[in-house]
């Protein structure tokens, strides 16, 4: 019988543009201190640490947690592209769930460079080889940033199928900015109109610049523990993980010449389905969602992959504002990757932090009233989709 895993402390730094942040270990320590303080425990009580980051030499995780303490505990470095943060979270969760540890610390951080994501190792097979081959077959390869071509191309495929307007994609960014204006930790706090979003430089039709998440530097952390540990520390009624699942690419990702499938639609759908089955909670029960809006097109696709709306209904879901306060469910109250920012390794834990704050009723101006159930979706090309259901009784 798996043990229940509680999230008893979260913390994150303000997300910054590249070049303006502290160094990675300083950001990680800042988020870590905040999470430990939030949990009300000492670092010495942590039995294992999981550190997620994508860009950096090996063992940055140790360097980061050494700023919290030199207690000799196991430290695991985790790299799973954009889903790195939630992958680290999952490993920590499994350690507690399986009875290996009582209390673990999970941190994600990223110090990114300016400009679009690219490949760092060009002397070997690119891990996205299969993905790029699908894209090349479906639409060729242009000089646009590769990730924008992939997700933009998926947007195009969706547009072709359902006739979705450019404005609809832009509306997702408009909503993200509006939500972020209430989040002091977000990178972009100012609102944008649909016209402004559409008028920004075209990156890869239908995506314009304001529909692409920015390279970001930041860190976020969480402290997980068992019920016994929580009890011992007098923590009652913590936010807990009701279910969590990871899915990786399946044959449909590469065999159907579909951009939508290539960017992880089926992975997300499968992970969500597993979570719904394990937790016994369905998409309609969810109050608040943090999902992986690296590009507006992916948020739109993810609504359907997670079952927040029916297939082909995303445009309606957006236009009718069912994706924000007063609608069916509030998506990305934090501002999401688009506005809060996307430091690759930190994102999965920043999503976790936002949901914990929301479920505890600590989200200030962006609080989703009466939120008790939160859903997290974090995806990385290459690929992995991690879906997590949080709950507070």
């Amino acid at each position: 019988m798996a043990r229940r895993v509680n999230v008893i402390g979260v913390g994150m730094t303000k997300f910054q543009k590249p070049g303006q942040s502290d160094d990675y270990h300083e950001m990680a320590a800042q988020a870590g201190h905040a999470a430990l303080k939030d949990a009300g425990i000492e670092y010495a009580e942590v039995e294992q640490a999981y550190a997620g980051y994508v860009y950096g030499d090996s063992t940055c995780g140790q360097r980061a947690v050494y700023d919290l303490g030199l207690t000799g505990i196991p430290v695991f470095n985790v790299n799973n592209n954009c889903s790195t943060g939630s992958t680290a979270l999952m490993l920590g969760k499994q350690a507690i769930e399986g009875g290996i540890a009582e209390c673990v610390f999970v941190v994600g951080f990223e110090k990114m460079e300016k400009g679009a994501l690219g490949s760092k190792f060009n002397d070997r097979t690119n891990p996205l080889e299969h993905h790029v081959n699908v894209m090349n077959k479906a639409q060729g390869f242009t000089s646009a940033p590769p990730a924008a071509q992939m997700f933009g191309g998926a947007g195009r495929e969706y547009q072709w199928r359902y006739g979705t307007k450019r404005e609809t994609f832009a509306k997702i960014s408009e909503k993200a900015r509006a939500h972020a204006s209430n989040n002091p930790l977000a990178l972009f706090g100012q609102r944008l109109t649909v016209d402004e979003i559409l008028a920004s430089d075209e990156v890869f039709d239908p995506l314009t610049r304001y529909q692409c998440c920015p390279p970001t530097c930041g860190a976020a952390a969480a402290v997980l523990c068992s019920d016994e540990f929580a009890k011992k520390h007098g923590i009652t009624n913590a936010v807990y993980i009701a279910a969590q699942a990871m899915a990786t690419d399946m044959s449909s990702s590469f065999m159907e010449d579909s951009m939508i499938k290539m960017v992880g639609y089926d992975m997300a759908q499968r992970a969500a389905q597993l979570v719904y089955e394990k937790s016994g909670i369905g998409p309609k029960d969810v109050d608040v969602v943090e999902l992986h809006d690296c590009f507006t097109a992916n948020e739109l696709l993810t609504y359907e992959a997670l079952g927040l709306c029916g297939e082909g209904e995303a445009e309606k879901f957006i236009v009718e504002k069912r994706n924000t306060y007063g609608g069916d469910v509030v998506t990305n109250p934090s501002g999401g990757l688009l506005s809060k920012g996307h430091p690759l390794g930190a994102t999965g834990l920043a999503q976790c932090a936002e949901l914990v704050w929301q479920l505890r009723g600590q989200a200030d101006k962006r609080q989703v009233q009466g939120a008790k159930i939160g859903l997290q979706h974090n995806i990385g090309l290459g690929g992995a989709a991690v879906v997590t259901m949080y709950r507070k009784d």
Binding site: N126, V132, W160, Y162
Partner: protein, 1008 residues
């Protein structure tokens, strides 16, 4: 705690365990559940007494008090079998032996008795052996044993007054090392400690305050660990004491390896002492095999031989540091004069060697090629850069033979790069021959010439080495020579010749010459050589020095300045045989000499692009640059793959290239085996790359970036796109060097073009071709409509190398520029392709080309002046036109008509669409809305919301959907009738109602 290391069920023997270290070891083992045989004779530290078991009994009592089990044994270790028997009798097994018992007989060697020596040996070494020997079979049978020997720093490092003890302790280390090897198979682990502890043995040696720190209790944990079943490290020696534990090992200096099979003198050892004894570079041999490795390595090397003057092992293959020099036209002319050229200044045959404005062009005398190479070697020697192992002085050497080969005619001036090595060393018995090879390129890496200089080293032979090739080749035939040329040298000939760079006083200073046994200064051998080669060129090559390929000459005797050189020549087989004599003394001075000629003049290196036009014109070497072709590049790539056989293992990918304009196909298969590049097609390549021939050349010569080509649409990649990144290896390809190498190996055709870098000027715009230039001229003519009425002349261009024909017809209005021939051009211009390029890009003056005979004008010569309009062509406009033509043609412009704008297909398509919708109203019904097209900026409206539907030009404002597409993609849409892919690729932009785009299939077939 479960992690405590226990010895439950184990039986240990600790010798000398009544006191000190042994007692401490026994107590620690006993405290952890080990059964212990506490052996002690009970004597004093000096070994007297005996029989007093009290200390051992005390230890046993202590172990038992801790709840352990132990027995006393009071036998001498020399009766080791009895000690082991105690263990067997009591517990039926023995697992651990700590050979600890010891004795001291410290005394200076001077006073040491044999008894002192023997006693120490018997207790430490013989005792340890006997105990171990008795236990060994039990341990082997049980497949478990842990043995610890007790050595000492005194043994490892030596200690004053302990010669006997040091001997014994070091003996134990060797003993243990071998037991470790022999016991390994049966899990019998043998280690040695070199402890330092306050014990009865050390009380006498160390001051009390230090003894305090050196408690036995801080040594025993290491002994216990080495005795534990969890420790499988064997054969180690550990220093331990005072809280410090460390393993020690052997360190060996890098050492010196002397050539195998050669005597080694004491002096050589002295000379190499730094290497033998220095620890700057070291290794740590851990076993016999590693110890032997340098010996075995050396045993496999066979010495090439040598003696004190010549060490072939060191010298053979030694490469000179790269040497640099240069020459200019003046140097060539001075050389020519110094070897007797143009003695008759009115002889037109010899003027080209000494006069830059000669009507038939300047030519460098090819024998000059030997001069800079020899000078480079002399300069290197003077600068102390000489091959190691050649230990003779200048006084022993004579220039014996000279071999010079030219890859192309000497440029009028060049910066030279010489790369040399010691190529051969022959043992001619009494004497030796050392052959230096010197390969010379220009500073662009283009191979110019190679030399082999054979030095005859007097008295340096006789080591029994190889004699080398027979020396009678190229002997002069018996029959009378086919040609004979006689020429008298001047009495001051050597003074003139030395200005070429050989400043040896032997050729100038009468006293110096006398000291060497000559009546007067002698002529340089290379001067005689220059005379005779020149004679051969005049007599056998029609005076055309460019046909010269190679000469191999032997210097047989000296010539004195003022003597007459008689050059006898025979045409024999494919070569010219030559013998030179001094007429006055009838002595052969050049023997066994042969000259080879090329059948036709090899391609010369073009003048560097940066050269000012005037200078280029003055340098009248014909600039017949062969263009780099894709076929040649495939050869080069193939050559590179051949030379880098590991490449296939790294790249593991096959690439198919399909080139267009002109079309060709080749592949680079690095999937398996050794890899291959060849023309043709692979059955199933991993990646297919389609691009124009010109773009491929640009890419392969590093001028064009494959990624940019790809994103610019000039390079199409099929198959595994990511694998195309592996083409990176092509960046490492040094085309010039490879071609130089290929030329050297005779892998390039004789008329091979120059290296890519040299040929591909101007770099900025990729390889500009004459076709490009005509596109630019066509563009200019099209833009300047009044030109034809002004010029009123038709020009025919006949270009050579590669051959092509173009005309510029400004006789008719409008003017026309195209490939091909006019029926009756006013004026025909014949010149080489590269001169045409130079002329039209301002690098060469047409007038100078004309006067240099490189531009031939037929028909109305004066009309050619009207070509001056070419000077007005705006280079930027030309570039734009070329770029436009290239992108349209997918590469370098094809020979093309004036770049008139291509007619749009859209008007025809929409007219046809109008007709189709009128005929089939149902089709219009499928759309059922007003839609608009914007094609390259022009707008069409399709009013399909009414019957009959109408198609016409008009603004798109009122349309429900607007389709933005290029004319070319519109054609594509009409061909395929499939808008989806165009949309996904971003070639079809949709505004408004996207789903209306699904209906665009109605366009299918609207173009033929």
């Amino acid at each position: 705690m479960s992690s405590e290391l226990r010895f439950d069920g184990r039986v240990a023997i600790v010798t000398g365990a009544g006191n000190g270290l042994g007692r401490s070891h026994a107590l620690l083992l006993g405290s952890r559940g080990c059964k212990v045989v506490v052996n002690d004779l009970g004597g004093s530290m000096h070994g007297g007494g005996g029989g007093d078991a009290t200390p051992a009994q005390k230890v046993v009592a202590e172990i038992k008090a801790m709840g352990g089990d132990a027995v006393v044994n009071a036998d001498s270790v020399e009766a080791g079998d009895k000690i082991v028997q105690t263990a067997m009798d009591t517990w039926g097994r023995v697992d651990i032996i700590v050979n600890n018992a010891g004795i001291l007989r410290d005394v200076s060697f001077q006073k040491m008795s044999e008894e002192d020596w023997d006693l120490v040996y018997r207790v430490h070494v013989l005792g340890a052996m006997r105990v171990t020997k008795a236990a060994w079979p039990h341990m082997r049978d049980a497949k478990f044993g842990r043995i610890v020997m007790t050595a000492s720093a005194a043994g490892i490092y030596g200690n004053f007054g302990q010669a006997n003890y040091a001997m014994a302790k070091m003996g134990l280390i060797g003993f243990a090392q071998t037991l470790a090897l022999e016991g390994k198979k049966n899990n019998v682990v043998v280690n040695t400690i070199a402890p330092i502890a306050a014990s009865r043995l050390t009380e006498t040696v160390l001051p009390p305050d230090i003894l305090e720190v050196l408690k036995p209790e801080v040594v025993s944990p290491l002994v216990a660990y080495l005795s534990h079943e969890s420790c499988s490290d064997t054969g180690g020696t550990y220093e331990v004491g005072g809280g410090f534990m460390a393993k020690i090992r052997w360190e060996r200096s890098q050492g010196k390896t002397f050539a195998n099979g050669r005597p080694i003198s004491i002096e050589q050892v002295q000379k190499a002492w730094g290497e033998i004894s220095g620890f700057e570079k070291t290794s740590h041999p851990a076993n016999i095999a590693e110890s032997m490795q340098p010996v075995l390595d050396n045993a496999q090397k066979k010495s090439l031989g040598g003696n004190e003057l010549i060490d072939c092992d060191q010298a053979l293959g030694w490469q000179f540091p790269t040497l640099y020099s240069s020459y200019d036209q003046r140097d060539l002319m001075l050389y020519a004069l110094s070897v007797g050229a143009a003695e008759n200044p009115l002889d037109p045959k010899e003027l080209p060697f000494v006069y830059e404005m000669s009507s038939s062009g300047f030519q460098g005398l090819p024998s000059y090629a030997a001069t800079p190479a020899v000078k480079a070697i002399i300069d290197a020697a003077v600068a102390g850069q000489q091959a190691p192992g050649l230990n003779y002085g200048f006084e022993r050497i004579l220039h014996g033979e000279q071999y010079t080969v030219l890859h192309r005619p000497l440029p009028p001036s060049a910066k030279l790069v010489h790369k040399g090595k010691i190529k051969e060393i022959w043992d001619k018995g009494k004497n030796a021959v050392v052959v230096i090879e010197m390969k010379t390129t220009d500073d662009q890496g283009t191979p110019l010439f190679d030399n082999e200089i054979s030095m005859f080293v007097r008295g340096a032979g006789g080591w029994g080495g190889e004699r080398g090739p027979a020396s009678d080749q190229n002997a002069a035939p018996e029959r009378a020579p086919d040609q004979v040329i006689e020429q008298k040298t001047d009495p001051n000939q050597a003074l003139l010749f030395r200005l070429n760079g050989d400043n040896n006083p032997l050729h100038a200073d009468p006293n110096f010459a006398k000291a060497f046994g000559f009546d007067k200064p002698i002529l340089h051998g290379l001067c005689t050589f220059g005379y005779s080669v020149r004679h051969a060129i005049l007599a056998m090559a029609g005076g055309d020095a460019r046909l010269f390929k190679s000469v191999r000459a032997r210097f047989a005797d000296t010539v004195f300045p003022g003597e007459t050189i008689v050059t006898e020549l025979w045409k024999e087989g494919g070569k010219i045989l030559l013998r030179a004599k001094v007429k006055e003394r009838d002595k052969v001075v050049l023997s066994n000499t042969a000259i080879e000629l090329y059948d036709s003049v090899p391609a010369e290196k073009p003048a560097p692009a940066a050269k000012p036009a005037a200078a280029a014109a003055a340098a009248s070497a014909p600039a017949a640059a062969g263009a780099v072709t894709s076929a040649l590049l495939v050869d080069v790539i193939g050559f590179y793959i051949e030379k880098n056989p590991e490449l296939a293992g790294q790249v593991k990918t096959s690439f198919q290239f399909k080139l267009s304009s002109p079309d060709s196909a080749f592949y680079i298969d690095l999937k398996d085996g050794k890899g291959k590049a060849a023309t043709g097609e692979l059955a199933s390549p991993d990646v297919t790359l389609e691009l124009s021939d010109a773009d491929f050349i640009g890419m392969a010569t590093g001028k064009l970036n494959p990624q940019k080509l790809y994103f610019g649409g000039q390079l199409k990649i099929g198959g595994n796109v990511m694998a195309s990144q592996k083409l990176e290896f092509m960046k490492k390809l040094d085309g010039e060097k490879l071609m130089a190498q290929m030329a050297a190996e005779g892998r390039l055709p004789a008329a091979a073009p120059a290296a890519p870098a040299a040929a591909a000027a101007p770099a900025a715009s990729g390889a500009l071709t004459s076709a490009d230039i005509f596109v630019a001229i066509g563009d200019y003519v099209a833009k300047n409509k009044d030109l034809a009425s002004q010029v009123k002349t038709s020009f025919q261009f006949e270009l050579t190398g590669p051959d092509s024909s173009y005309f510029v017809d400004l006789k008719s209005d409008p003017g026309k520029v195209a490939a091909g021939k006019l029926d009756a051009a006013d004026c025909t211009l014949t010149l080489s392709d590269s001169d045409f390029l130079d002329m039209t890009t301002g690098k060469a003056d047409p007038q100078k080309l004309y006067f240099a005979g490189k531009l031939k004008i037929g028909g109305n010569v004066m009309a050619s002046q009207k070509l001056m309009f070419l000077k007005k062509v705006d280079p930027k406009a030309a570039e734009a036109a070329i770029a436009a033509a290239r992108s349209a043609g997918g590469g370098a412009a094809k020979a093309a008509a004036p770049a008139a704008p291509k007619a749009m297909k859209a008007p025809g398509i929409f007219a046809a669409l109008g007709e189709r919708l009128a005929k089939e109203p149902a089709l219009a019904g499928e759309i059922g809305a007003k839609v608009a097209f914007i094609v390259d900026g022009k707008e069409w409206l399709v009013e399909a919301d009414q019957a009959p539907a109408k198609v016409h030009e008009g603004t798109a404002n009122e349309a429900k959907a607007i389709f933005t597409i290029s004319d070319a993609d519109l054609v594509e849409l009409c061909k395929t009738g499939s808008p989806r892919e165009l949309f996904q690729r971003g070639k079809l932009r949709v505004d408004g109602e996207y789903l209306l785009a699904h209906r665009l299939g109605i366009m299918k077939g609207l173009v033929a």
